[in-house]
Every structure is written in structure tokens, then in C-alpha cells.
Symmetry: C2
Subunit: 326 residues, 2 copies
């Protein structure tokens, strides 16, 4: 029955992948667009180079986010929590008192992008998606502020939230790099004796900065959003810290059953598919109530406005509602 004499996985010839008919017309439209391109990564020690890189990337990110947020009916306040800037976003009609549920949003952007206006735009998107009062942390980032600055800022805001809100009214969430920080925050909060929130939402989380997952190989050239390794940004973020440190790559953390119920989402074309499914398995092995949703042909971060994205938001809302006290 065996005819291939070589060891290793079968060879995959050069190819392009046809747009599948198995997704919505809107998703097909997205998949038929050219793959995202990006500027070359600067050298690790080239601070002005990184500043310029981030500035350019942020402009594109912001444009995409603002397009997606068009029509979102929210009120936004810029505040400071113990010196950390935050955006306080309330969708129209959402309760935002001290006893009401609150979504603590940790933004994405490869741990280098998405500061300021990007953080604000992503917070609006997540508030519109969850329909919850949302507090988004505008954490410090490289090149000027490597690890642990971002995690420190996330922790400051979480501590402050716990002063005003019962933990069972708090949901913590993050996508991509924000999923890294959200998961690392849980580990660090637990280690510092803080209570866990009601639930955790990890959207295609970047939980392994070593990029050891198989989809970093198998979905390279398949994911049209993340089209290359993020290692230069990972190293810049870590600032010389070990990439396997659980606060840097929370996939390598020691999970216990008191970790909050966790929602995980990815797509079959996602470069972070392995990040997501490995995190799911790690949590399940620890006895955590963790549920996985993988969307057909979806690249990293979704289809930017297809019915599948709305379906994903609906699952998040249902998950949150099931884990918030009535």
C-alpha cells in the first residue's frame, strides 16, 4: 500500500488555491482580492525604521477598521486609568453602570501596531460586535516599549476594573496579538492572586511567539492576510526575553481548571490555526471549559464584513451571555 520511498510529508507542488464556493459570496469576494502586502521588516535595532514601519502599517489598519465600523452607533470617551490611556465605548442602549457587564478589550496588531486611533477603532468594532460596554487599553508597544510594558499596562487596567466591577461581570477579550496579551494577562493575574473574569474570548490568538505550530508552514501562502512570519515583530516585542516565557507566549503556560471559560476562533486558512487549536487543546487538557470555532476558508482575522463574520460575532455574544450571571 505504500509507494513513496522518501521520509517526511508528501510533497506539495507549486499552486494557487481557487476561491472556494463553500463560503458566502462576500467571503468569495474577499478571497478573490490580492493578498495583503507589507513593507519589509526593519532591522531589529533600527528604531526609526520601526517607527516608520508602524506608522505606515497603522494607516492601512485604521482605514480597514474605519470602513468596517461605518454606521456603528457608539459613544466613545478617552480616559486614563492610573496613567494608562483607555477608550471607554458604549454602544447605543447598552447598560454601562458599575454593576453591568463590561468587555475588557485588548487590541491586536502584531504587538507593534494599533496604538491610539487603531485601538479606538478596534474597540468600536468589538463593542458593536459584543453589544457591550467596552473598555479598551491603549497599551505601550515597541520599538520604544518592549515587553513587559504592554502586559504591565493590561494588568494596571484589569486591577482597576476589579476595583469597580465584580469579576463575574467582566469579560476579557483579544484578537491576534490581543489574544496573546489577554491570555498572558490571565496567567499573570492568577499568579498575582487576582480573581478570574467571567469569560475569556480569544480570536485567532498569537499565543506562541516562537511560531512552532504546523500552520505556520502549512498555511503559509494560503492565508492572504498574514502572508509571512511575524518573527521580527515578535523579537522586537520580547526585547531579549525568552520567547517561550509563558507571559510572552502564553501557550506554554501552566493552565489549571480555574482558568476562565474560553471561546477560541480561527479559520482553515489562518496562519494562526495551530496557535488556536493548540491553545484549545491545552485548555481542554487542563479541564477548562473551552470551545472552538473554526470557519471554512477564513484567513487570519476574518473576511472583513461577510456573513461569516456576523455569525462569529453571534457565537461570541451567545458564549458571553451563557457565562455572565443573569
Amino acid at each position: 500500500m505504500v509507494d513513496a520511498p522518501e521520509t517526511g510529508s508528501p510533497e506539495s507542488p507549486a499552486r494557487t488555491f481557487p476561491v472556494p464556493t463553500s463560503v458566502s459570496p462576500e467571503a468569495q469576494q474577499f478571497l478573490s482580492m490580492p493578498a495583503f502586502g507589507s513593507a519589509e521588516y526593519p532591522e531589529l535595532d533600527d528604531v526609526p525604521g520601526w517607527v516608520a514601519y508602524v506608522e505606515q502599517a497603522d494607516a492601512g489598519l485604521l482605514m480597514a477598521m474605519e470602513l468596517r465600523n461605518a454606521g456603528a452607533n457608539v459613544t466613545v470617551a478617552e480616559l486614563s486609568v492610573d496613567g494608562v490611556p483607555v477608550f471607554d465605548v458604549t454602544p447605543e442602549g447598552a447598560p454601562n453602570g458599575a454593576d453591568d457587564p463590561i468587555y475588557y478589550d485588548i487590541h491586536g496588531g502584531a504587538l507593534v501596531m494599533g496604538a491610539g486611533p487603531g485601538c479606538r477603532a478596534m474597540a468600536i468594532g468589538n463593542a458593536a460586535g459584543t453589544r457591550m460596554h467596552t473598555l479598551a487599553v491603549d497599551y505601550r508597544m515597541p520599538p520604544r516599549h518592549p515587553y513587559p510594558a504592554a502586559l504591565d499596562d493590561c494588568l494596571v487596567v484589569y486591577r482597576s476594573l476589579l476595583e469597580d466591577h465584580a469579576p463575574e461581570t467582566i469579560v476579557v477579550g483579544g484578537g491576534s496579538a490581543g489574544g496573546n496579551l489577554a491570555a498572558a494577562l490571565m496567567l499573570r493575574a492568577r499568579d498575582e492572586g487576582l480573581p478570574m473574569p467571567a469569560a475569556l474570548v480569544l480570536m485567532t490568538p498569537e499565543v506562541d511567539l516562537t511560531e512552532s505550530g504546523d500552520s505556520f508552514q502549512t498555511n503559509l501562502g494560503v492565508d492572504a492576510v498574514l502572508t509571512r512570519s511575524l518573527m521580527p515583530a515578535n523579537l522586537l516585542y520580547a526585547g531579549g526575553h525568552d520567547l517561550t516565557d509563558p507571559y510572552v507566549s502564553p501557550l506554554f503556560g501552566d493552565f489549571t481548571a480555574d482558568f476562565p471559560p474560553t471561546f477560541l476562533q480561527s479559520g482553515t486558512r489562518d496562519l494562526f490555526l495551530s496557535n488556536t487549536v493548540r491553545m484549545h487543546r491545552k485548555l481542554r487538557a487542563a479541564g477548562v471549559d473551552a470551545e472552538l470555532h473554526v470557519f471554512e476558508a477564513m484567513p487570519h482575522g476574518g473576511f472583513f464584513g461577510a456573513p461569516e463574520d456576523r455569525e462569529s460575532s453571534e457565537e461570541v455574544r451567545r458564549f458571553i451571555a451563557a457565562h455572565l450571571k443573569p
Copy 2:
């Protein structure tokens, strides 16, 4: 931000995939072996060719299964249920009275393989995995018996089971082609007014014989177990019936919230990854309690004896226990 002028997904160069370090040593060992090879498919109308093809393929399948079952402590009886041959398998110590839970096992094998000794061996494996009294249906198959023979046989045995067992004590399960039949059986049983079982287990189910899922492209050459399209076997099975008929490709069925709670499993390298996640989404959209488990770097059907396979069995047992009345 966009630099690729072409439409369509990014190009993937020719490559082999390194064995990932992100799985167990046993799984790495499995992934470092040569890809499965198979004989050429016969022409669709070449009955003796198919008989010979199946005979050869079955021999390999049986060898793998018996290796996996070595040491399984079970009692097996060969019975006939209203003319349909079945294997009745009881793991040592498992209760097998009329009031005790029973696992109704529908075997895999691309809808052409796995009859007789193969069915028996797969039933032993599933009985050992679920630790439940198991009844496996040795359904008729092509080339002599195309659709609907297999589904008819599955239904005959399900009807008979319902005469002796309360539906809430029955779990229906199938892997690969067995997942096709298990899901189609639920649709047909519902349409014929029969009650649903306590739970359904679909292990990397072949729910779409049209092969419209994206992973039929993206995981081609990545999955070392299923290394090509199964379309010739699908057409042989359908015997001229429309491949999109929900009894032939249950993914296209009309699901409702009374469908049984469903466990779905796949792997990131699985050619049937799209089959699995699309079925999960279809069930979720209908409000069905369906849970998804995707294993890192796993090809179709698992690693044939790695810790990940045992972890998968544990999840199935936990799922079944949660859905059987105490």
C-alpha cells in the same frame, strides 16, 4: 499596503512540510513516515476492477486496525439483525443489558472498504475507545450495492435498536465514510418519524461527496493519509444519484435544533477539515449543541496510536457521558 497584482489567493511554491515539533514524539514518528500510497482507481463501470481494488485496500486497512487493537479485551458476537449482519462487541466490564447505554458504530472506508473483518476490527477499536457495549453494522457497499443499500442497512439496524433500547441510551457514531452514513441516518430517521439518539459522534466525517470544501485543495499534499480526491469512490457509491442529495451528502441537509448533540473531530492536516468545520457550523447555525475538536498537525483519522489519539478518545467519552442519562 497591497502589492500583488493578481487576483486569487497567494501562490504557494513547491515544498515539503517539515515534521512539526508541536506534536507528541509518537505523532512526529507517524508524520515522518512515507505518505500512504494506493492503487489507481478502476474505471467506474469496471466491477471486477473495483472488487480487486477493495480487496487489496481492505487487506492494508485490516492490518493497521489489528495492530491498533492488539490487547483490546473485548467479547465479539456475530449476529444478524433483520437480515443485516452486525458485530456485537462488549469491552470487559462494560454493562450490556437492554437498559444500558449502547454505541451504534458505523464504520469508515470511503464507502467501498471495511466490510466484514474490517468492520469487526473497527468496531473493536471503537468499543475499546468508548468503553461501551457496541453494535457495528456491516452494511452493503459498491460495486455490487450502491446507494441506498448502505443507508438502508444502517436504518434497519437503528430501527431494531429502538425496539430494544430507549433512544436516550443510544449513541450513534461514525468516522470518515461512517460519519457520512451516521449523519445521513439521522436525517433519514427524522424524516421517517423515528426518535433521535442521545448523542452523535462524527470523527472527520465525509459529509460532502461533492468535495466542495476548501481543504480538498489546501490540504492536498499536506494530509499523508488521504493523498487524493475520493471522487471515483463517491461516484461509485452514489450510483447515479445526485451527490448533493442530503442522504448522499448530509452536509446539504436541512438541520433543526432537534438534531442530537454532536461531537466533531478533525486535524489541521486533514483533507476532511473543511467537511468537519462546515458540518459544525451548519449544526451551530441550526441551534444544535455541537462541539468541535481540531488536533494539531493531525492527518485524516489520527496518528494511529499517539497520545493525541487517546486524548481524542477521552474527549469522546466525556462528551458521551455528559449526554447519556445517568
